[in-house]
């Protein structure tokens, strides 16, 4: 099996397997959580829980000045990484081509130069977050193998994607294969690790906001 065979596998069967594991896993986890079915709150609500929930989805997504003062590095790096990953994933021309091929929809791309800058910033942010995780005694104590594994799995698609455009030591085929396999790894581990927060974080924020709003508290 040569690199060409592996690339063909990664572009076809590998991607199919990864997408199926991802969609099955995410759906199972979300439905299981949703069907836990909490007890109905029979108390008279002081305000609309739905509105409060949506408000919190947005307010908790905006930067907090308090956190900025207490943990500025974490906050800034976190925003750079998350926004950067999102922009690179959805606004790089070859990625849009992938979505167009799969779902028949496309949208305008950002120039490669901007994508490259964002990729570098995102990689830098990931390393800053890792440095903080290692150097901060409390966070180091709380970190498990999964935290480091997920960090690596998030880094690899960005790194291999960047090298795909710039490497001279590896061929495009090798880097494209590495890039696709790293993305497939991310998809496969996604439902079974803390990466699920990409979905659950918004449900969680909505729930927190809704619960508080019903009690007349704004969060």
């Amino acid at each position: 099996m040569n690199i060409f065979d592996i690339l063909q596998w990664a572009r076809g069967t590998g991607l199919q397997i990864a997408v199926v594991i991802f969609s099955v896993g995410v759906l199972i986890r979300l439905l299981e959580m949703w069907m836990l079915n909490r007890k109905p709150d029979l108390a008279e609500p002081r305000a609309s829980g739905t509105l409060g929930g949506w408000r919190t989805v947005f307010t908790r997504s905006a930067p907090s000045m308090v956190l900025m003062k207490k943990a500025g590095l974490l906050l800034v790096s976190g925003y750079i990484f998350h926004l950067g990953f999102f922009i690179v994933l959805f606004f790089f021309a070859p990625h849009i081509r992938l979505f167009h091929n799969m779902f028949g929809v496309s949208w305008p791309a950002l120039p490669n130069g901007i994508i490259e800058i964002i990729t570098i910033l995102s990689i830098g942010a990931l390393f800053a977050l890792l440095a903080h995780r290692i150097m901060n005694p409390v966070q180091r104590f709380l970190s498990t193998f999964q935290d480091y594994f997920v960090w690596l799995a998030s880094l690899l698609p960005l790194l291999t994607g960047y090298l795909l455009l710039h490497t001279s030591d590896f061929s495009y085929s090798q880097m494209l294969t590495a890039h696709l396999l790293s993305v497939e790894l991310l998809l496969v581990i996604f439902p079974f690790t803390k990466l699920m927060h990409a979905f659950t974080t918004f449900f969680s924020r909505w729930y927190t906001g809704a619960m508080a709003a019903r009690k007349g508290v704004t969060v």
């Binding site: 040569n2 690199i3 060409f4 065979d5 690339l7 063909q8 572009r11 076809g12 069967t13 991607l15 199919q16 997408v19 199926v20 594991i21 991802f22 969609s23 099955v24 896993g25 995410v26 759906l27 199972i28 986890r29 979300l30 439905l31 299981e32 949703w34 069907m35 836990l36 079915n37 021309a93 070859p94 990625h95 081509r97 992938l98 167009h100 091929n101 799969m102 779902f103 791309a109 950002l110 120039p111 490669n112 130069g113 994508i115 455009l165 061929s171 495009y172 085929s173 494209l176």
Partner: protein, 366 residues
């Protein structure tokens, strides 16, 4: 047939001046990334070389490779060099036919035993005893296993001989394989392409004649000097890729402006060949210059690598439907798991026995 004349004598006889010959050597040397001084040395060694005996076997192929070699923009010097090589057997070009042709092959092998270069184009069918391609009643496998042990080196010309090519494409009805799948004890130089570039063939032969060795090969057995760079690395449209300017169809503004053909399925980034530098038809152009993406013909199994018009970043198989199946299956399993969890919850609630003071004291319940 080979004779005792040197290459210089043969070329002089054909009216090729020393100046033209040196120019050819300089271009071959630069093409093969040799230092400029090597051009003179190459010229001296090539000029003194006796005509190299070459046996050319055609198996499961379309003759496109031979067309490429023999009909390359004539009368270029590399054609004459190729002509000056003693092509002792090539069944398409040989003047005679039938038993006479077979006799010539036998004679060529015996006369230059262990010295001739064996060129092979076409794949070798193995299924059902190899009956899908026979010459004079002998299977391709039989002929190859007979001739190859007598050769000094083997050049697998074209993607079929190098990697199995189109005959090997799924579902490979004839069980086609590459030369390297059969011959294990001879140096094999793969010169893939559909067809391969003529100057690459003459370059490889010139290297063998001057150095006495085969050139450095990559992991797929291809000469690094010609197959070291990807089409993408050497493409004149590369700046447009870097700027993110892509043609979206073969007739849009981007296509007319000569923008990158990546989104139209160009396989240049994953294809290693010299098309973008040596070009075709006497250096006129190459496919991308004509407005069509690279098909990736010099890579293994290029025929099965998805549509020629699917971008490299897009999947080669149906992923959207599998995603939909995954969502449906996930929903079904998720609901089933949710129901199971609820019944566990109900059951736990039903069978729960409240903790009593006696429990805390460790006394058995009455």
């Amino acid at each position: 047939m080979s004779d005792d004349k040197t290459l210089a004598e043969t070329l002089a006889q054909r009216g090729i001046s020393r100046r033209s010959f040196l120019k050819f050597c300089a271009s071959i040397a630069s093409l093969m990334a040799m230092p400029p001084a090597m051009a003179v040395e190459m010229a001296e060694k090539l000029a003194a070389a006796r005509r190299q005996s070459v046996v050319y076997l055609s198996f499961q192929e379309c003759t496109g490779c031979l067309e490429s070699l023999t009909r390359s923009h004539s009368p270029k010097l590399e054609d004459l060099i190729f002509d000056a090589i003693s092509l002792d057997y090539q069944e398409t070009l040989v003047a005679c036919a039938g038993h006479f042709a077979e006799h010539i092959l036998k004679e060529a092998i015996e006369k230059n035993d262990g010295k001739f270069i064996l060129m092979v184009d076409g794949s070798i069918p193995l299924k059902d005893g190899g009956i899908y391609s026979t010459i004079a009643g002998r299977t391709n496998l039989d002929i190859l296993e007979w001739v190859a042990p007598h050769a000094a080196a083997v050049i697998a010309v074209g993607s079929c001989a190098a990697f199995g090519g189109i005959p090997k494409a799924n579902p490979n009805p004839t069980g086609a394989v590459a030369v390297s799948d059969i011959i294990k004890d001879k140096p094999i130089i793969n010169v893939p392409g559909c067809p391969p570039i003529p100057v690459v063939i003459t370059g490889v032969i010139a290297h063998y004649l001057t150095m006495g060795t085969i050139p450095d090969l990559d992991e797929l057995g291809r000469p690094k000097v010609f197959f070291g760079d990807s089409i993408h690395d050497r493409c004149y449209r590369r700046p447009f890729y870097d700027q993110g300017k892509f043609a979206k169809s073969f007739d849009d503004e981007g296509a007319r402006n000569g923008w990158c053909l990546f989104e139209l399925g160009c396989k240049g980034p994953t294809t290693h060949n010299a098309c973008a530098t040596t070009k075709w038809n006497g250096g006129v152009s190459f496919p991308i210059e004509s407005g069509h993406g690279c098909l990736g013909c010099s890579e293994p199994d290029f025929w099965d690598a998805g549509s020629f018009y699917t971008a490299l970043s897009a999947p080669t198989k149906d992923v959207a439907n599998w995603a939909a199946i995954g969502v449906a299956a996930g929903a079904a399993i998720g609901v089933a798991a949710g129901i199971a969890n609820r019944s566990t919850k109900t059951e736990t609630k039903r069978t729960r026995k409240p903790l009593t003071v006696d429990d805390l004291k460790g006394k058995p319940k009455s």
